[in-house]
Every structure is written in structure tokens, then in C-alpha cells.
């Protein structure tokens, strides 16, 4: 099995991984306190994933 076979192609999975990485980065960059970091991390993940799903839902009637 090559490494390429291990790469996910599921769009939602890739989007969620992106949201997790970006949220973790900004939570650590912008907050010093551990509790505040987790709070911002949760808000950012919810905003990115929820926003992505909302935009996808809005675009659903316009496939082309």
C-alpha cells in the first residue's frame, strides 16, 4: 500500500481537519490562559465547520 492510498479524499473530513488546525493555531496565538484557549478553539471550530456547511447548503440549489 502506498502512502497516497492513506490520504483522505472525503471533503468533509479534509474541511474538518483544516478547521481543527486553524482553530488550534489561533487559539494558542491569541489566548494565554488554558481555559480561554479551549473556549476560543471551540468557537472557531464551530464557526468554520458550521459556516462551511451553511455555505454548502446555500449553494445546493446552484450546482453549476
Amino acid at each position: 500500500m502506498t502512502m497516497l492510498a492513506l490520504v483522505p479524499t472525503d471533503h468533509f473530513l479534509i474541511m474538518t481537519l483544516y478547521a481543527l488546525l486553524v482553530s488550534a493555531f489561533f487559539a494558542i496565538l491569541w489566548r494565554e490562559d488554558g481555559r480561554e484557549r479551549w473556549k476560543l478553539f471551540g468557537v472557531l471550530v464551530a464557526a468554520l465547520v458550521g459556516g462551511g456547511l451553511a455555505v454548502a447548503w446555500l449553494m445546493y440549489p446552484f450546482p453549476k
Partner: protein
Amino acid sequence: MKETAAPPAPSSVRVAGRSPYVAIALAWLIPGLGHYYLGRRRTAAAFAAIVVLTFVAGLSFQGRLYSIEQGQPLTILATFAVWGAGLLNIAARLFTENPGGSILSVTYEYGCAYLLTAGLMNLLLILDAWDIATGRKR
């Protein structure tokens, strides 16, 4: 009239014995190394893990390491962003088989987004290291 308390002034104390210029150079070379140099070892490790993982994921998704192309002005910005990843970008250009990515891959666009994001994250870390080293950020 009620007086409101002024926000605390930011510390203007530099990190002792640490040059801001060395900090930003290290921060550019390897993600998190600038913060490590400034004594923030735990955050340095976290930043390094996040940026490296984002960059490697971008490569595995067969994203493109942008280069400037004539007639394509946006590639200037994209190239600047990718070069923000420092040695990761240089190593990837030297050692990967296809730095231009694979446009036919279903994950190509995602790979490009991941690579650009990794570079931009590291550019933010360079600015953050500068702020810490000069005392603008505690």
C-alpha cells in the same frame, strides 16, 4: 462623570539576551523556533506541530508550491505565502517529485489551501516572535 480605568500598558521590556532579528530569522527558518529561542518552549512545540502538520497534509493532498508566473499577478501573493514556510518550503521543492502538485487530483485545491495556510501561519508566527522579543507582547 465616572472615570473608566485605563487598560494596562503593554510591557515594553525586551526579552533579556535575545535579539528580535535572530528571533524572526529562526521563526522563518523552522516554525516555532523563534518562540523556542524566546523561552516559550511549550507554545513553540505546539506551533511547530500545527504548521508542519498543515504543510505535510498540503503536500500529501498534492497541492502546489506556487512560483511567480508572468501574466498571473495572484501567483506573486501565493508564492510569498508559500515561502513563508521557510525551510519546509525549500525542502519540499528540493525533495518532492512534483512541486507543482497534481491538478487532476481530487484533493488538489485542498492541498493548495493547506500549503498557503501553513506559510501564512508561519508569517504570523514571525510577527508574533518580533512582538514578544521587542516587549510589545507579554
